[in-house]
Symmetry: C2
Subunit: 409 residues, 2 copies
């Protein structure tokens, strides 16, 4: 039989919009022996994680817990649980992940209405508010930080408009949580999903969600206790959720003191999430957002000094993703391959209309630090020179160092 | 702000039907730094994992990969992808997890037909075959190893009958894979899901699945490329799958050389899965099944020598779960609590009609070893004595030692 070798992954500098490098303390947490899922020590860890998630989402919501799957499992859990078949759902789209929300809403059996704006920009909130008045949706689903284009959509006015129109607002904050302010209560977001493998710097595998009492009221109209556990049939005001695995009504019973058996909680991933959240709260949300902004400034200063041009409207730039136009005549994929193979650095390409036109550089979580930014700028200069691009030698790294020096003063 | 302490879970001896203890080599694998999801080193690990899963499932199927979620995400992925709304689905039920299959099939929009047999036994395959002839189902979904009752259902005749009736057979082998033979091709199982946190001794978080060309043919009739990635609309012979996250048609594109972007693969969990599979294949499937059988024999000998009685029909006993009747007058939960708090050992209670009537003891994966079995027997005797149960001192551990000694000879 073929013998498989020991696992031995190379150490990478990951400057993509996720998955990014993981703090060694989080990696260590996953190597702890597991506890049983109903062990009181483990349920204590579950409760602590909920308390930490409330702080992360800046919310007083009762419900804040991880869905056991990658980020899109959390998006789908919110949508399949809060969108009843036949609901009117409005999806404003300003990049690839808006299209994903459209796709999932359709699969939930919704009547979907979309508005689109050109990639590289965002919506004036008034456009979305006008669409809300026009469509009168039951649910509005929108992306906060769009990694495909590197844009961030302000949400406060949209949140208020949804509340006034009695629509539920579902927000995909996968790319922003932990790197950019996400104010669940202040912005009146009814349901929010965050990502682990981006600004939280936890491996992909869990999707933290939170939702308020308005959202819960809708869940309760669709709630069903599982066959094999239930003692009586119940009538429902709205159809039962189409998924068992992603039914938030069941998940919240599992995360409540009732601990009604559902799935087997992902022990090691929960250890990682708890440790990652501990590090985020220890750093402090404001300090963390400021750190992300600092390294973005240094990166942008360096890229600009090298003569590279940024993509998209600067007014809506997402701090944690910087999109760079690939210079005329340069093969973007050859640059990425050389960066990875010779320098051990990963940056990202893009999707759809932007494929081959831009690189996307992430400055997220643990990857977002001075030595990574400087290393990338130096390596990118060398690779571009090697690929025949004409650019001055040296100014990229120097410009970034200037930003860091000014920051120290 | 409240400071959260360092994570510091106690070391447990976990003798439940999962989650069970994890081999330290698997725990170590999760502490390796992460790779990006499209890094060639990472996609190599994905391919290796597929090759190992084919061996685990004893199949030549092209498709064998993990669904990113706990075991029931894999069950639901198979069902939601292979059951079209309106399909006739037959679910034979012999314990709690049969009810779960019923529940999920209903949520998929199926017309569900069930047959039930008393808990503690299994079906004579002829009963299931008669039901297949009678119902003429599109899909049959059945549990292989039922942890709620500790029974195992033979599947070869049922597999042949499904093939003859042109029904797809979906098998929940969550509890059996890696501990008990599961012969996907020989038994003509069209789609199988295994669990990680049981006999594979990998933390909960991934659900390995495999399915054959018959199952894939049905998937392809429902396939849709995601909005934001697709270049043209396609017509479908059958309705599009109701889930995006669990749509196997999309997952297989992501696991194919095409690598069509879907979710962000769970890096650290995949490291764990690959390492866990490596250890399983290094031990060898037959040797591993024999090991599970040996420790079951020792456990059963010990329990019997203590005067305890086993639950259920011995002919259908599942090797890896031993159900024990709680002696008259003894509080089963008090025994479990004392075992955990004083001895650091976890055993399980049960569900529904068996709640308070039996304990369930697992001998699975890394937990399934001599020192654990002996430790449990000694501790159980001490706790039962302490709880006022009349039983002889000493013979449990001695009887188990006898089994181990005979095995060495």
């Amino acid at each position: 039989m073929k013998r498989y070798e020991d696992l031995s992954p190379s150490l990478r500098c990951i400057m993509t919009p996720g998955p990014v490098e993981v703090d060694p303390r989080v990696l260590r947490a996953m190597s702890f022996p597991v506890l049983g899922q109903f062990d009181p020590e483990f349920t204590d860890i579950m409760n602590e994680t909920m308390a930490m998630l409330r702080k992360l989402f800046v919310t007083e919501n009762q419900w804040a817990y991880p869905v056991d799957g990658t980020s899109r499992s959390g998006i789908e859990a919110l949508m399949v649980s809060l969108i009843a078949p036949g609901d009117r759902v409005l999806v404003p789209i300003f990049g690839r992940f808006g299209h994903l929300l459209h796709e999932i809403a359709e699969r939930c059996g919704a009547e979907v209405f979309t508005i689109e704006t050109a990639w590289g920009g965002i919506f004036d909130p008034e456009e979305v508010i006008a669409a809300i008045r026009n469509v009168q949706p039951d649910v509005v689903a929108i992306v906060h930080g769009e990694t495909s284009t590197g844009r961030v959509q302000p949400l406060a006015e949209i949140g208020r408009a949804c509340r006034e129109a009695d629509a539920l607002l579902i927000v995909d904050a996968v790319a922003t949580i932990g790197g950019v302010p996400v104010k669940t209560d202040a912005w009146m977001l009814d349901a929010v999903v965050g990502g682990t493998q981006k600004c939280l710097s936890i491996p992909s595998g869990m999707a933290p969600v939170t939702y308020n009492a308005r959202a819960e009221a809708k869940l309760l109209k669709r709630k069903q206790v599982e066959r094999g556990l239930r003692t009586e049939d119940t009538a429902h005001e709205l159809p039962v959720v189409r998924s068992n695995y992603l039914d938030l009504g069941m998940l919240q019973d599992y995360w409540s003191p009732q601990r009604l058996n559902h799935h087997t909680e992902m022990t090691s991933m929960l250890y990682a999430l708890r440790e990652g959240l501990r590090l985020v709260l220890e750093e402090g949300l404001e300090a963390r957002h400021a750190r992300h902004a600092l390294h973005e400034r240094a990166l942008v200063a360096g890229l600009t000094a090298m003569g590279l041009q940024l993509y998209g409207d600067p007014a809506s730039k997402l701090t944690v993703v910087t999109c760079v136009l690939i210079p005329e005549g340069i093969d973007g994929e050859a640059v990425r391959t050389m960066l990875l193979q010779h320098f051990g650095i990963e940056i990202a390409s893009s999707f759809g209309p932007l494929k081959g036109k831009i690189w996307r550089i992430g400055t997220m979580g643990y990857s977002c630090r001075e030595n990574n930014v400087l290393r990338l700028l130096g390596a990118l200069e060398a690779v571009l020179l090697r690929q025949g691009c004409k650019l001055p030698c040296g100014p990229g790294v120097q410009a970034a160092l200037d930003v860091y020096e000014q920051n120290v003063r």
